[in-house]
Protein backbone atom coordinates (compact mmCIF):
# COMPACT_ATOMS: atom_id res chain seq x y z
CA UNK A 1 0.00 0.00 0.00
CA UNK A 2 1.36 3.38 -1.00
CA UNK A 3 1.91 5.50 2.09
CA UNK A 4 0.47 9.01 2.29
CA UNK A 5 3.58 11.15 2.59
CA UNK A 6 1.59 14.35 3.14
CA UNK A 7 -0.22 12.84 6.13
CA UNK A 8 3.04 11.53 7.58
CA UNK A 9 4.70 14.93 7.34
CA UNK A 10 1.75 16.73 8.89
CA UNK A 11 1.61 14.01 11.56
CA UNK A 12 5.25 14.58 12.42
CA UNK A 13 4.71 18.34 12.63
CA UNK A 14 1.81 17.80 15.02
CA UNK A 15 3.52 15.09 17.07
CA UNK A 16 6.66 17.14 17.58
CA UNK A 17 4.59 20.29 18.18
CA UNK A 18 6.56 22.17 15.55
CA UNK A 19 5.47 25.78 15.25
CA UNK A 20 6.28 28.41 12.64
CA UNK A 21 9.05 30.78 13.75
CA UNK A 22 7.46 34.10 14.74
CA UNK A 23 7.34 36.80 12.12
CA UNK A 24 9.12 39.09 14.56
CA UNK A 25 12.31 37.03 14.35
CA UNK A 26 12.21 37.34 10.56
CA UNK A 27 11.55 41.07 10.85
CA UNK A 28 14.42 41.37 13.33
CA UNK A 29 16.75 39.45 11.03
CA UNK A 30 15.68 41.52 8.03
CA UNK A 31 16.06 44.83 9.82
CA UNK A 32 19.43 43.75 11.31
CA UNK A 33 20.77 43.07 7.83
CA UNK A 34 19.50 46.42 6.52
CA UNK A 35 20.90 48.19 9.61
CA UNK A 36 24.30 46.56 9.17
CA UNK A 37 24.22 47.58 5.50
CA UNK A 38 23.30 51.14 6.52
CA UNK A 39 26.05 51.28 9.17
CA UNK A 40 28.63 50.00 6.66
CA UNK A 41 27.58 52.62 4.11
CA UNK A 42 27.66 55.40 6.74
CA UNK A 43 31.10 54.34 7.99
CA UNK A 44 32.25 54.10 4.37
CA UNK A 45 30.91 57.65 3.95
CA UNK A 46 32.91 58.81 6.98
CA UNK A 47 36.01 57.20 5.48
CA UNK A 48 35.40 58.90 2.13
CA UNK A 49 34.86 62.26 3.86
CA UNK A 50 38.20 61.77 5.65
CA UNK A 51 39.88 60.93 2.34
CA UNK A 52 38.61 64.24 0.92
CA UNK A 53 39.64 66.11 4.08
CA UNK A 54 43.16 64.65 3.96
CA UNK A 55 43.64 65.27 0.25
CA UNK A 56 42.41 68.85 0.56
CA UNK A 57 44.75 69.50 3.48
CA UNK A 58 47.80 68.08 1.71
CA UNK A 59 50.43 70.78 1.46
CA UNK A 60 51.44 70.58 -2.16
CA UNK A 61 53.92 73.44 -1.84
CA UNK A 62 56.29 71.29 0.25
CA UNK A 63 56.45 68.71 -2.56
CA UNK A 64 59.75 70.01 -3.98
CA UNK A 65 61.46 69.45 -0.65
CA UNK A 66 60.59 65.79 -0.71
CA UNK A 67 60.76 64.77 -4.33
CA UNK A 68 60.77 66.12 -7.86
CA UNK A 69 58.20 63.56 -8.91
CA UNK A 70 54.61 64.71 -8.56
CA UNK A 71 53.30 61.12 -8.74
CA UNK A 72 55.71 59.94 -6.05
CA UNK A 73 54.50 62.73 -3.78
CA UNK A 74 50.88 61.79 -4.47
CA UNK A 75 51.63 58.16 -3.58
CA UNK A 76 53.44 59.27 -0.43
CA UNK A 77 50.58 61.40 0.81
CA UNK A 78 47.54 59.35 -0.23
CA UNK A 79 45.37 58.57 2.82
CA UNK A 80 45.83 54.81 2.57
CA UNK A 81 44.30 54.10 5.96
CA UNK A 82 41.01 55.74 5.00
CA UNK A 83 41.11 54.19 1.53
CA UNK A 84 41.44 50.75 3.15
CA UNK A 85 38.62 51.59 5.57
CA UNK A 86 36.41 52.77 2.73
CA UNK A 87 37.06 49.63 0.70
CA UNK A 88 36.52 47.48 3.80
CA UNK A 89 33.18 49.11 4.62
CA UNK A 90 32.29 48.96 0.93
CA UNK A 91 32.92 45.20 1.02
CA UNK A 92 30.78 44.88 4.17
CA UNK A 93 27.99 46.93 2.54
CA UNK A 94 28.19 44.62 -0.49
CA UNK A 95 28.03 41.56 1.78
CA UNK A 96 24.96 42.78 3.66
CA UNK A 97 23.15 44.10 0.58
CA UNK A 98 23.60 40.68 -1.02
CA UNK A 99 22.00 39.13 2.07
CA UNK A 100 18.85 41.24 1.92
CA UNK A 101 15.79 39.40 0.63
CA UNK A 102 16.22 40.64 -2.96
CA UNK A 103 19.93 41.41 -2.88
CA UNK A 104 20.85 38.39 -5.01
CA UNK A 105 18.81 39.72 -7.94
CA UNK A 106 21.29 42.47 -8.78
CA UNK A 107 24.61 42.01 -10.50
CA UNK A 108 27.83 42.47 -8.54
CA UNK A 109 28.63 45.66 -10.49
CA UNK A 110 25.28 47.24 -9.56
CA UNK A 111 25.55 46.20 -5.90
CA UNK A 112 29.18 47.37 -5.53
CA UNK A 113 28.61 50.63 -7.40
CA UNK A 114 25.42 51.51 -5.59
CA UNK A 115 26.88 50.91 -2.12
CA UNK A 116 30.04 52.86 -3.02
CA UNK A 117 27.98 55.64 -4.60
CA UNK A 118 25.92 56.08 -1.41
CA UNK A 119 29.16 56.20 0.63
CA UNK A 120 30.68 58.72 -1.79
CA UNK A 121 27.58 60.97 -1.69
CA UNK A 122 27.33 60.75 2.09
CA UNK A 123 31.09 61.34 2.49
CA UNK A 124 30.98 64.33 0.14
CA UNK A 125 28.11 65.81 2.14
CA UNK A 126 30.08 65.29 5.36
CA UNK A 127 33.13 66.96 3.82
CA UNK A 128 31.10 69.86 2.41
CA UNK A 129 29.56 70.46 5.83
CA UNK A 130 33.04 70.60 7.39
CA UNK A 131 32.34 67.62 9.65
CA UNK A 132 34.97 65.43 8.00
CA UNK A 133 37.67 68.02 8.60
CA UNK A 134 36.61 68.33 12.26
CA UNK A 135 36.57 64.56 12.57
CA UNK A 136 40.03 64.33 11.00
CA UNK A 137 41.45 66.95 13.38
CA UNK A 138 39.86 65.28 16.37
CA UNK A 139 41.56 62.05 15.33
CA UNK A 140 44.89 63.81 14.95
CA UNK A 141 44.60 65.51 18.31
CA UNK A 142 43.21 62.64 20.36
CA UNK A 143 44.99 59.67 18.86
CA UNK A 144 48.79 59.64 18.98
CA UNK A 145 48.73 56.30 17.16
CA UNK A 146 46.84 57.82 14.25
CA UNK A 147 48.95 60.98 14.25
CA UNK A 148 52.35 59.41 14.42
CA UNK A 149 52.01 55.98 12.88
CA UNK A 150 49.02 55.79 10.57
CA UNK A 151 48.90 59.23 8.98
CA UNK A 152 51.59 59.09 6.31
CA UNK A 153 51.59 62.86 5.89
CA UNK A 154 52.96 63.20 9.41
CA UNK A 155 56.07 61.33 8.32
CA UNK A 156 56.82 64.11 5.84
CA UNK A 157 57.31 66.43 8.78
CA UNK A 158 59.89 64.19 10.39
CA UNK A 159 62.45 65.38 7.83
CA UNK A 160 64.55 68.21 9.32
CA UNK A 161 67.31 67.32 6.85
CA UNK A 162 64.91 68.20 4.05
CA UNK A 163 63.80 71.35 5.79
CA UNK A 164 60.57 70.02 7.31
CA UNK A 165 60.17 70.00 11.05
CA UNK A 166 57.06 69.63 13.19
CA UNK A 167 56.45 69.55 16.89
CA UNK A 168 55.10 71.46 19.83
CA UNK A 169 56.18 74.90 20.96
CA UNK A 170 57.92 74.79 24.34
CA UNK A 171 59.23 78.25 25.10
CA UNK A 172 60.50 81.52 23.79
CA UNK A 173 64.28 81.69 24.37
CA UNK A 174 64.83 85.27 23.18
CA UNK A 175 63.65 87.65 20.44
CA UNK A 176 65.03 85.46 17.69
CA UNK A 177 64.89 81.92 19.06
CA UNK A 178 62.25 79.55 20.28
CA UNK A 179 62.40 75.98 21.53
CA UNK A 180 60.23 73.17 20.24
CA UNK A 181 59.98 69.44 20.83
CA UNK A 182 59.67 67.51 17.56
CA UNK A 183 57.59 64.43 16.73
CA UNK A 184 60.52 62.23 17.76
CA UNK A 185 60.66 63.97 21.15
CA UNK A 186 63.92 65.79 20.37
CA UNK A 187 64.36 69.38 21.54
CA UNK A 188 65.23 71.95 18.84
CA UNK A 189 66.30 75.56 18.97
CA UNK A 190 64.52 77.28 16.11
CA UNK A 191 65.70 80.63 14.82
CA UNK A 192 62.72 82.79 13.82
CA UNK A 193 64.58 85.97 12.86
CA UNK A 194 63.53 85.69 9.23
CA UNK A 195 60.40 83.68 9.66
CA UNK A 196 57.22 84.39 7.75
CA UNK A 197 53.68 83.43 8.73
CA UNK A 198 50.49 83.50 6.72
CA UNK A 199 48.16 83.75 9.70
CA UNK A 200 48.51 85.14 13.21
CA UNK A 201 50.40 82.68 15.32
CA UNK A 202 50.46 83.10 19.10
CA UNK A 203 53.24 80.83 20.31
CA UNK A 204 51.54 79.11 23.20
CA UNK A 205 52.95 76.26 25.19
CA UNK A 206 52.27 72.86 23.54
CA UNK A 207 50.93 74.46 20.37
CA UNK A 208 51.53 72.01 17.48
CA UNK A 209 53.34 73.72 14.60
CA UNK A 210 54.97 72.87 11.28
CA UNK A 211 58.17 74.63 10.33
CA UNK A 212 59.75 74.95 6.89
CA UNK A 213 63.37 75.97 6.89
CA UNK A 214 66.85 74.64 7.07
CA UNK A 215 68.64 72.43 9.50
CA UNK A 216 71.95 73.83 10.68
CA UNK A 217 73.97 72.08 13.32
CA UNK A 218 72.62 69.50 15.72
CA UNK A 219 69.11 70.44 16.84
CA UNK A 220 69.37 73.96 15.44
CA UNK A 221 66.90 74.95 12.76
CA UNK A 222 66.51 78.18 10.80
CA UNK A 223 62.80 78.75 10.24
CA UNK A 224 61.60 80.36 7.03
CA UNK A 225 57.92 79.73 7.59
CA UNK A 226 55.88 78.54 10.55
CA UNK A 227 52.39 77.12 10.15
CA UNK A 228 49.87 75.82 12.57
CA UNK A 229 49.76 72.02 12.53
CA UNK A 230 46.06 72.21 11.87
CA UNK A 231 45.87 74.01 8.53
CA UNK A 232 42.29 75.20 8.95
CA UNK A 233 42.56 76.34 12.56
CA UNK A 234 42.56 80.09 13.20
CA UNK A 235 44.25 81.50 16.29
CA UNK A 236 44.33 85.13 17.35
CA UNK A 237 47.02 86.86 19.35
CA UNK A 238 45.80 87.54 22.85
CA UNK A 239 46.07 91.28 23.47
CA UNK A 240 45.62 90.67 27.16
CA UNK A 241 48.83 88.64 27.25
CA UNK A 242 51.52 91.05 26.00
CA UNK A 243 54.25 88.63 27.10
CA UNK A 244 53.01 85.85 24.84
CA UNK A 245 55.18 85.79 21.69
CA UNK A 246 52.99 86.25 18.67
CA UNK A 247 53.90 86.20 15.00
CA UNK A 248 51.72 88.34 12.76
CA UNK A 249 51.59 88.35 8.96
CA UNK A 250 51.94 92.10 8.39
CA UNK A 251 55.24 92.23 10.27
CA UNK A 252 56.59 88.84 9.43
CA UNK A 253 55.19 88.37 5.97
CA UNK A 254 55.81 91.66 4.14
CA UNK A 255 55.02 91.90 0.44
CA UNK A 256 58.68 92.07 -0.52
CA UNK A 257 59.52 88.94 1.40
CA UNK A 258 56.47 87.20 0.00
CA UNK A 259 57.54 87.94 -3.56
CA UNK A 260 61.07 86.72 -2.99
CA UNK A 261 60.08 83.86 -0.80
CA UNK A 262 60.89 80.48 -2.23
CA UNK A 263 60.87 77.17 -0.51
CA UNK A 264 64.14 75.25 -0.67
CA UNK A 265 63.96 72.46 -3.25
CA UNK A 266 65.00 68.91 -2.61
CA UNK A 267 67.86 69.36 -5.08
CA UNK A 268 69.19 72.27 -3.02
CA UNK A 269 69.24 70.01 -0.04
CA UNK A 270 71.05 67.26 -1.95
CA UNK A 271 73.55 69.77 -3.18
CA UNK A 272 74.18 71.01 0.32
CA UNK A 273 74.56 67.50 1.67
CA UNK A 274 77.22 66.65 -0.87
Amino acid sequence: MKKDLSKNILGKIKKEKIQPISKWSFLLKKSSIWSLFGISVILGGFAFGSILAQISSTEWNIRHQITDSFMFFVFMTLPYLWIIFMLGFGALAYYYLRRTSKGYRYSTIIVVNSSLLISVLFGSALYASGLSTKFEHAFQEKSPLYREVLDRRVKLWKNPEKGLLAGKFIKHIDEENIEIIDLRKRIWTVNIAEVVVKKELPLRSNLPVKIIGEKKENQIFIAKEIRLWNKNKVLKCDTEKPDEPCLKPPRHFPKKVKENFQLPRSNDWRHEKR
Binding site: I9, L10, I13, I18, P20, F26, S101, Y104
Partner: protein, 197 residues
Protein backbone atom coordinates in the same frame (compact mmCIF):
# COMPACT_ATOMS: atom_id res chain seq x y z
CA UNK B 1 -9.98 14.13 1.72
CA UNK B 2 -9.14 16.94 -0.71
CA UNK B 3 -11.29 19.91 0.05
CA UNK B 4 -12.42 21.46 -3.27
CA UNK B 5 -12.26 24.93 -1.73
CA UNK B 6 -8.60 24.53 -0.91
CA UNK B 7 -7.71 23.10 -4.29
CA UNK B 8 -8.96 26.35 -5.86
CA UNK B 9 -6.77 28.49 -3.60
CA UNK B 10 -3.44 29.91 -4.72
CA UNK B 11 -0.25 28.85 -2.95
CA UNK B 12 0.03 32.23 -1.31
CA UNK B 13 -3.53 32.01 0.02
CA UNK B 14 -2.77 28.56 1.40
CA UNK B 15 0.28 29.95 3.21
CA UNK B 16 -1.90 32.57 4.93
CA UNK B 17 -4.52 29.95 5.82
CA UNK B 18 -1.88 27.52 7.12
CA UNK B 19 -0.68 30.15 9.56
CA UNK B 20 -4.23 30.25 10.93
CA UNK B 21 -4.91 26.52 10.75
CA UNK B 22 -2.09 23.95 10.75
CA UNK B 23 -4.24 21.35 8.91
CA UNK B 24 -4.34 23.50 5.76
CA UNK B 25 -0.63 22.75 5.34
CA UNK B 26 -1.70 19.29 4.17
CA UNK B 27 -2.96 20.81 0.90
CA UNK B 28 0.29 22.65 0.30
CA UNK B 29 2.25 19.44 0.93
CA UNK B 30 -0.06 17.52 -1.37
CA UNK B 31 0.37 20.11 -4.11
CA UNK B 32 4.16 20.03 -4.00
CA UNK B 33 5.22 16.62 -2.67
CA UNK B 34 5.59 14.96 -6.07
CA UNK B 35 7.26 17.94 -7.76
CA UNK B 36 9.77 18.40 -4.94
CA UNK B 37 10.38 14.66 -4.60
CA UNK B 38 11.17 14.51 -8.33
CA UNK B 39 13.47 17.48 -7.96
CA UNK B 40 15.36 15.78 -5.11
CA UNK B 41 15.65 12.60 -7.17
CA UNK B 42 16.82 14.57 -10.22
CA UNK B 43 19.47 16.30 -8.18
CA UNK B 44 20.68 13.15 -6.50
CA UNK B 45 21.27 9.48 -7.02
CA UNK B 46 19.67 8.68 -3.74
CA UNK B 47 17.01 6.04 -3.12
CA UNK B 48 13.34 6.98 -3.04
CA UNK B 49 13.23 6.32 0.73
CA UNK B 50 16.15 8.65 1.31
CA UNK B 51 14.59 11.29 -0.95
CA UNK B 52 11.38 11.04 1.07
CA UNK B 53 13.33 11.62 4.27
CA UNK B 54 14.86 14.74 2.72
CA UNK B 55 11.42 15.83 1.52
CA UNK B 56 10.04 15.45 5.05
CA UNK B 57 12.80 17.75 6.33
CA UNK B 58 12.06 20.17 3.49
CA UNK B 59 8.37 20.47 4.42
CA UNK B 60 9.19 20.86 8.11
CA UNK B 61 11.57 23.66 7.18
CA UNK B 62 8.95 25.24 4.93
CA UNK B 63 6.39 25.06 7.74
CA UNK B 64 8.79 26.55 10.31
CA UNK B 65 9.70 29.41 7.98
CA UNK B 66 6.21 30.24 6.70
CA UNK B 67 6.29 33.64 8.42
CA UNK B 68 9.49 34.43 6.55
CA UNK B 69 7.99 33.70 3.12
CA UNK B 70 8.41 36.77 0.95
CA UNK B 71 5.11 37.38 -0.86
CA UNK B 72 7.00 39.02 -3.75
CA UNK B 73 8.36 35.56 -4.64
CA UNK B 74 6.42 32.69 -6.14
CA UNK B 75 5.78 30.09 -3.44
CA UNK B 76 7.09 27.41 -5.80
CA UNK B 77 10.43 29.25 -6.20
CA UNK B 78 10.74 29.54 -2.43
CA UNK B 79 9.87 25.86 -1.93
CA UNK B 80 12.37 24.82 -4.61
CA UNK B 81 15.03 27.00 -2.98
CA UNK B 82 14.54 25.27 0.37
CA UNK B 83 14.53 21.87 -1.34
CA UNK B 84 17.70 22.69 -3.25
CA UNK B 85 19.51 23.88 -0.13
CA UNK B 86 18.34 20.95 1.96
CA UNK B 87 19.35 18.41 -0.70
CA UNK B 88 22.74 20.03 -1.22
CA UNK B 89 23.43 20.22 2.48
CA UNK B 90 22.36 16.58 2.91
CA UNK B 91 24.76 15.39 0.23
CA UNK B 92 27.52 17.76 1.28
CA UNK B 93 27.41 16.15 4.72
CA UNK B 94 27.63 12.69 3.19
CA UNK B 95 30.10 13.86 0.52
CA UNK B 96 28.21 11.91 -2.10
CA UNK B 97 28.54 12.83 -5.77
CA UNK B 98 25.15 13.85 -7.06
CA UNK B 99 23.68 12.00 -10.04
CA UNK B 100 20.51 12.40 -11.98
CA UNK B 101 18.00 9.62 -11.46
CA UNK B 102 15.58 8.59 -14.15
CA UNK B 103 12.02 9.58 -13.28
CA UNK B 104 9.65 9.06 -16.18
CA UNK B 105 9.00 9.41 -19.91
CA UNK B 106 8.34 13.11 -19.58
CA UNK B 107 11.84 13.48 -18.20
CA UNK B 108 13.25 11.52 -21.13
CA UNK B 109 11.55 14.00 -23.46
CA UNK B 110 13.03 16.89 -21.51
CA UNK B 111 16.49 15.35 -21.73
CA UNK B 112 16.05 14.96 -25.49
CA UNK B 113 15.00 18.63 -25.66
CA UNK B 114 18.18 19.59 -23.84
CA UNK B 115 20.20 17.58 -26.33
CA UNK B 116 18.44 19.18 -29.31
CA UNK B 117 18.84 22.67 -27.90
CA UNK B 118 22.54 22.15 -27.14
CA UNK B 119 23.48 20.48 -30.39
CA UNK B 120 21.09 22.59 -32.46
CA UNK B 121 19.26 19.56 -33.90
CA UNK B 122 15.92 19.97 -35.70
CA UNK B 123 15.31 16.27 -36.40
CA UNK B 124 12.61 14.50 -34.36
CA UNK B 125 13.75 11.51 -32.33
CA UNK B 126 13.06 10.11 -28.94
CA UNK B 127 14.58 6.99 -27.57
CA UNK B 128 15.11 5.82 -24.04
CA UNK B 129 18.66 4.87 -24.95
CA UNK B 130 19.56 8.42 -25.96
CA UNK B 131 17.84 9.87 -22.88
CA UNK B 132 19.93 7.51 -20.75
CA UNK B 133 23.09 8.67 -22.47
CA UNK B 134 22.11 12.33 -22.00
CA UNK B 135 21.61 11.65 -18.30
CA UNK B 136 25.08 10.07 -18.10
CA UNK B 137 26.60 13.10 -19.76
CA UNK B 138 24.85 15.49 -17.36
CA UNK B 139 26.33 13.46 -14.53
CA UNK B 140 29.80 14.20 -15.93
CA UNK B 141 29.26 17.95 -15.55
CA UNK B 142 30.19 19.88 -12.44
CA UNK B 143 27.38 20.39 -9.92
CA UNK B 144 27.10 24.07 -10.88
CA UNK B 145 26.23 23.19 -14.49
CA UNK B 146 24.22 20.11 -13.59
CA UNK B 147 21.95 22.04 -11.21
CA UNK B 148 21.23 24.71 -13.79
CA UNK B 149 20.43 22.17 -16.55
CA UNK B 150 18.13 20.24 -14.21
CA UNK B 151 16.21 23.40 -13.30
CA UNK B 152 16.05 24.70 -16.88
CA UNK B 153 15.34 21.50 -18.83
CA UNK B 154 13.95 18.99 -16.36
CA UNK B 155 12.04 21.26 -14.00
CA UNK B 156 11.32 23.64 -16.90
CA UNK B 157 11.82 26.76 -14.81
CA UNK B 158 12.26 30.17 -16.41
CA UNK B 159 15.29 32.39 -15.73
CA UNK B 160 13.50 34.48 -13.08
CA UNK B 161 12.49 31.35 -11.16
CA UNK B 162 16.00 29.87 -11.39
CA UNK B 163 17.38 33.19 -10.16
CA UNK B 164 15.03 33.05 -7.15
CA UNK B 165 15.75 29.37 -6.44
CA UNK B 166 19.54 29.59 -6.63
CA UNK B 167 19.68 33.20 -5.34
CA UNK B 168 21.82 34.46 -8.21
CA UNK B 169 21.20 37.35 -10.63
CA UNK B 170 19.27 36.57 -13.83
CA UNK B 171 22.27 37.54 -15.94
CA UNK B 172 24.33 34.91 -14.12
CA UNK B 173 21.57 32.34 -14.77
CA UNK B 174 21.72 33.09 -18.50
CA UNK B 175 25.51 32.84 -18.51
CA UNK B 176 25.45 29.57 -16.56
CA UNK B 177 22.82 28.02 -18.86
CA UNK B 178 24.83 29.00 -21.91
CA UNK B 179 28.11 27.68 -20.43
CA UNK B 180 26.42 24.49 -19.21
CA UNK B 181 25.06 23.85 -22.72
CA UNK B 182 28.49 24.43 -24.26
CA UNK B 183 30.04 22.08 -21.71
CA UNK B 184 27.29 19.57 -22.40
CA UNK B 185 27.96 19.83 -26.15
CA UNK B 186 31.68 19.15 -25.61
CA UNK B 187 30.93 16.12 -23.44
CA UNK B 188 28.25 14.90 -25.87
CA UNK B 189 30.69 15.04 -28.79
CA UNK B 190 33.41 13.39 -26.72
CA UNK B 191 31.03 10.56 -25.85
CA UNK B 192 29.86 10.17 -29.49
CA UNK B 193 26.28 10.99 -28.58
CA UNK B 194 25.72 12.62 -31.97
CA UNK B 195 26.46 9.25 -33.62
CA UNK B 196 23.47 7.69 -31.84
CA UNK B 197 21.03 10.15 -33.42
Amino acid sequence: MVNPDFSQKTDEELVVLTLQDQDVFYYLIKRYEQKLLNYILRLSSTSRENAEDILQEVFIKIYKNLNGFDRDLKFSSWAYRITHNETMSHFRKKQTKLKITSIDDEENNNLINLLKSSLDIQKEFSTKEIAKKVREIIDLLTSKYREILVLRYLEEKDYQEISDILKIPMGTVATLVSRAKKRFKIEATKNHLDELI
